[in-house]
Symmetry: C2
Subunit: 221 residues, 2 copies
DNA sequence: TTTATTTTTTAGGTTAATCTAAAAAATATT
DNA sequence: AATATTTTTTAGATTAACCTAAAAAATAAA
């Protein structure tokens, strides 16, 4: 069945919201992420339900059907593969690729996706550490921890970020925080839960709790 | 000023038609290439004229304004660069890339185009031998000849094709006719203007006038 | 458990891009 | 030059995606 860019974006947004909860997704939540009005969302949810891509009962919220989930994952897959392409091959910084990938994710060609995947060496994650769903739509669970949940004294590796906004990523870059960096948590300040962290064994620096919350790490054995 | 995919496609089509003639382009000609009805074209031409991208007077046909020409050339540039990418980097055949490039040509990012150009080694032509406009929109005039206009006894090199349809390109591939092939015209049959041509010094084969018309060559000194 | 608040839906409109059918203009033919 | 044909435009609808304002349902508070 034919699908429009707009419909793809709705499915993607519902998918994103569904990752954070097992509850049904509210009309308002979708409206906020789609930067549109609740009334428009209601129209679209009905349409998506007609096409069999979501389960929706009015006033009850929405969730993806298996068919909708499959479409959403294929868009996520394309988005993240193109981000790898933009950083690894085109030389963009990790904070510059989101908007372009938002466009590229709608390019329709299974063969291209397959070839791109191979060309990039079958990457497992995008430049922000987010896992790339495979062809069958299976998303490897990476189960990283938020830096904000780690105790003082631990060593860990920066594996990803919990948001892709350019301002956040630019801040990380300024702080010399990039994927794979080794973080040694020296101290956590009780007052504002800010962190003193040594990055790659350099002089410890200060990191706000807000930043720590958006950094994903794995703890070193 | 914001521009839609549809508007971009209209400008591209008007540009394509303008290359073949110095006359104004008729509503019907645009309708045919856009696969739409003349009435729809009339609406769109008025809109494009309002935006300053074409000069249009009703019943008088249309031509691109300098601003419209610039947009059209930037789309052609993107289309052809992406075709090079698809063939050179992704490993597609030259008959498989047109539809995908039709989508990729609308991706909006000057920086990406610039980086892609560099990544591909600043190619001068696409996989069909069509010249790639430069950043300033200047299209190098390649001035190749149609094989159908060459006399028997001449040797030439296949430099491009005059149409990109998959069936035509697949036929060329079957005949072992690819960019750069050396063609020796053995004989031209008066009856149907068909050609006997030796390709890369192999046994001469038969080529219809229709095929010869769509093959672009340069004559060897 | 009423009342107040928030959320969601309905009703009715708008815009971009298309369509069909009919009218108008341009071109071709007698 | 008058008539016929073709091309182009106008008029009026349609569809997708959005909007605002008002109504209805769900949830929270008194």
């Amino acid at each position: 069945m034919a699908i429009s860019f707009t419909e793809e974006n709705y499915l993607k947004v519902i998918h994103r919201l569904s990752e954070a909860t097992s509850e049904d997704i509210s009309t308002n939540a979708v409206a906020e992420l789609m930067q549109t009005k609740a009334a428009s969302v209601t129209d679209m949810l009905r349409k998506l339900a007609d096409k069999g891509w979501v389960n929706y009962q009015k006033y009850q919220g929405v969730r993806l059907s298996p068919a909708g989930e499959k479409i959403a994952l294929s868009i996520v897959r394309k988005h993240r593969l193109w981000e790898v392409f933009l950083v690894d091959k085109m030389g963009f910084n990790w904070d510059e690729v989101h908007e372009i990938a938002e466009q590229l994710e709608h390019i329709e060609s299974d063969e291209l996706v397959q070839k791109l995947d191979a060309y990039l060496g079958f990457p497992k994650t995008d430049p922000h550490g987010d896992p790339i769903p495979n062809k069958e739509g299976i998303l490897p669970e990476l189960a990283y921890l938020h830096l904000s949940d780690i105790k003082a004294g631990k060593n860990c590796i920066l594996m990803g970020v919990a948001q892709d906004s350019a301002v956040f990523l630019q801040l990380l870059t300024k702080l010399n925080l990039s994927l794979g960096a080794k973080l040694a948590i020296m101290e956590i300040n009780e007052f504002d839960r800010s962190f003193f962290v040594s990055i790659n064994d350099a002089e410890p620096i200060f990191i706000s709790h807000e930043v720590a919350k958006n950094i994903l790490v794995k703890i070193l054995a």
